[in-house]
Symmetry: C2
Subunit: 141 residues, 2 copies
Amino acid sequence: MKLTSKGRYAVMALVDLARFDTINPVSLRDISLRQGISLDYLEQIFSKLKKNQIVKSTRGTQGGYILSKKPNEIKLNNILNAVDEKVKTVQCKKESKKGCNGRATKCVTHNLWDELETHINTFFEKKSLQDLLKDNSERVN
Amino acid sequence: MKLTSKGRYAVMALVDLARFDTINPVSLRDISLRQGISLDYLEQIFSKLKKNQIVKSTRGTQGGYILSKKPNEIKLNNILNAVDEKVKTVQCKKESKKGCNGRATKCVTHNLWDELETHINTFFEKKSLQDLLKDNSERVN
DNA sequence: ACATACCTGACTAAAATGGTCAAGTTTAGA
DNA sequence: TCTAAACTTGACCATTTTAGTCAGGTATGT
């Protein structure tokens, strides 16, 4: 399982977007400056967010990104999946005749990681962008 | 955050140990063969488990490892911490005057990762080796 | 036309991962 | 007492992932 900066950046950027896209599209440049994330890296991230229909883009001067849906309809789960931060805890070979570790049976921890995966996914499915906005409504930055 | 093979191996090895240490210490060699984990790697893992008083060792012929406590007293949390698979989701610089990203404020997702961390830790604190033994009591391997 | 901003893909330094290898020390049992 | 089994320690390493950078584009509002 992995939960690294990419996922964090994606969430940060989208919270930023949710705050500022009410009138005009928001440029990555602005997000980059406000959130302290490299512009080039943001472009990679937004490319994936766009492919997953989480944001929409407008090109040209005054262009930028806006959210595709309302903040309460965008779950953290959607965001993290979009940037390939899928919650994956076990690397048991699926569909092979043998189970984990090349054995006939599943490794003794197999069910455990499955449970954990569900546990974490549930957490992210419940949280929406809206929830984060609310939590940080008093913040300046 | 990271949850990789090392943690999985540690749990697998301890479940194995819990099953077989009733009479004699169990050698890493045996665990290695039964669980399909490299012996050398197991040695690294058990070195840490020992430092954290999760297992005790006996040297020499017929030596090996036994659990320091009863299976129901060993929480998964203890195991994963011992092998450095601490649940860590954010790399915000602690104790610096500035918050995440070198800003004066915490990044908007700071609380989120904190919550997740608690969420996951709670999961592991509730699970003991005993629980895993029970789940797999019918297994052959 | 030109500046702004999106778009794409190749590239890379540094860190983490999942080990291996070598050289011990300790102790049970023959 | 000798020796093999088993623990102990630390260095080393190939591969993969991460977190970007860089170098080009293309589209479009003014």
